[in-house]
């Protein structure tokens, strides 16, 4: 029997990009499969839940679990993997801080079902049928997992040992994490396996950034052609690098798009959205801030619709408020 450490990959409320990130390891994945046995990976390999159930507790060395948690089935699977695994790594933004699915926390199950199955123009559903946990069809019972009102991060459901941030985590950080696990050279439990700096610190545009930036008018990315050399804030485009952890490889910045916070809060930041808000508000109309009336400030702010959705784009379930109370 193989003595190689066993590894599992699993997905929950996610887009599949994290699975793609593993494939993006390219040739490096050969090193990984040489060193470990992948015993469970629904997207790529034909192992079943019963195979995991048949294992001893703690038999899997490490489970990389991506996606947020929003159904009973997802909870059941991650609880099973937690029991069977020595280490659990929350893999990617959704498992780490809630991610894009976490924006559902501005709504609840009823509102989401109503939109997705009743009022959305692209779904004809004249009978108004909604998903149910149990349906009787020709004397057979068909079941679906319960869909939750609230999207949760992985560590709000099971104990998590480490976090690999990003939408999706970049190959270098994945390899660093795998190497650290194989060499048993891991930092303190609970560590985010990425640099401690914030993105502005490592941004290629920070060199040319002026000492003082005053945003006279907020712009949305589609409204202007951003200068690829200039700090986005200098051009009035909201970029969340100041409140976001670095380590992504500045992929969005290099594609001339501002940071939206997928790497989660920088070290010492409690609430990524509130910190981003604070930084942007501070430099809004900075040059003549003492002359601004409250109405002037409101006008400057109102250029951007859905500020909460912007500042909490990736982190709503892990924010201080966690969700909107409906």
């Amino acid at each position: 029997m193989s003595s190689k450490p066993k590894v599992a990959f699993y997905w929950n409320a996610s887009c599949g990009g994290c699975e793609e990130a593993v494939v993006d390891l390219a040739e490096d994945i050969l090193q990984v499969v040489e060193a470990v046995d992948i015993v469970f990976w629904p997207v790529a390999l034909d192992f079943k839940k019963k195979d995991v159930e048949a294992m001893d507790d703690g038999e899997i060395a490490v489970s990389f679990i991506n996606g947020a948690i929003r159904t009973d089935e997802q909870r059941e699977m991650v609880e099973l993997l937690r029991r069977k695994s020595g280490l659990v790594v929350a893999f990617g933004s959704c498992a780490h801080i809630g991610g894009i699915p976490g924006l559902a926390n501005f709504y609840n199950r009823e509102l989401i079902f109503d939109r997705a199955y009743r009022t959305v123009p692209s779904t004809p559903n004249p009978d108004g049928v909604l998903p149910r946990t149990s349906s009787d069809i020709d004397d057979d019972e068909l079941t679906l997992p319960e869909f939750w009102d609230t999207v949760k991060t992985l560590d709000q459901v099971i104990d998590v040992d480490y976090y690999l941030p990003g939408c999706a985590p970049p190959p270098d950080l994945i390899m660093d994490a795998v190497t650290a696990i194989l060499e048993a050279n891991l930092p303190e439990k609970g560590t985010v396996l990425a640099p401690r700096k914030n993105l502005c610190d490592t941004c290629p545009r920070s060199e040319s950034k002026p000492d003082k930036i005053s945003i006279e008018s907020l712009k949305r990315p589609y409204e202007i052609e951003a200068d690829p050399e200039k700090c986005f804030l200098e051009e009035g485009i909201i970029c969340l690098g100041m409140s976001t952890r670095s380590g992504c490889g500045e992929r969005c910045i290099n594609a001339n798009m501002p940071c939206r916070g997928c790497f989660g809060p920088a070290e010492e930041v409690f609430d990524q959205g509130a910190k981003g808000l604070s930084a942007i508000a501070s430099i809004l109309g900075l040059e003549k801030e003492e002359e601004l009336t409250d109405e002037d400030i409101e006008r400057l702010i109102d250029r951007i619709p859905d500020l909460a959705g912007l500042f909490y784009m990736y982190s709503l379930p892990s924010s201080l408020l966690r969700r909107k109370k409906l």
């Binding site: 501005f106 939750w148 009102d149 609230t150 949760k152 709000q156 409690f270 609430d271 959205g273 509130a274 910190k275 808000l277 604070s278 942007i280 508000a281 501070s282 809004l284 109309g285 801030e289 003492e290 601004l292 409250d294 400030i297 409101e298 702010i301 859905d306 500020l307 909460a308 959705g309 500042f311 201080l320 408020l321 966690r322 969700r323 909107k324 109370k325 409906l326």
Partner: protein, 140 residues
């Protein structure tokens, strides 16, 4: 008996808080039930994170008592004014009404004005009731 409102008043260490302490010799600033005064090293230090944390911990309303225009040594009042206006808009999307976040500006000697403002804020918030914030146990 109806529940007392829970109000947090952040006071600047360099203006209204010393005024409040001096005046407190014969009148306790925390006399109003449910009102807590917290000293901050400048209104600019009262970050949106602190305001949200107050709501998460049960505050019905948060008031900021900073220095008047031109009286802040650090321009913190200008920064915080912009942050609070933006925060009100963001929290409205969470279902927390803008009226629950108040800011006003006071010189050291304006304790009577502060007390009046706090009383009016307490009345307003009492009428509004508790803020709509989800508690951990409600999340299932």
């Amino acid at each position: 008996m109806s529940e007392d409102p829970r109000i947090v008043v952040f006071c600047c260490n360099w203006s209204i808080y010393p005024g409040l302490q001096l005046s407190a010799i014969d009148e306790n600033p925390d006399d109003l039930p449910g009102v807590s005064h917290i000293v901050s090293m400048c209104s600019g230090r009262v970050s949106p994170e602190l305001v949200i944390e107050a709501f998460v911990n049960g505050a019905w309303g948060v008031m900021l008592a900073g220095c008047p225009t031109d009286e802040c040594e650090h321009d913190g009042n200008y920064k915080t004014r912009k942050r609070f206006i933006m925060l009100r808009k963001v929290l409205e999307e969470f279902g927390i009404e803008p009226g629950r976040i108040s800011m006003d500006w006071f010189s050291t000697g304006e304790v009577a004005k502060l007390k009046q403002s706090v009383r009016e804020f307490v009345d307003r918030i009492t009428e509004m009731g508790p803020a709509r914030v989800v508690k951990e146990q409600e999340l299932g």
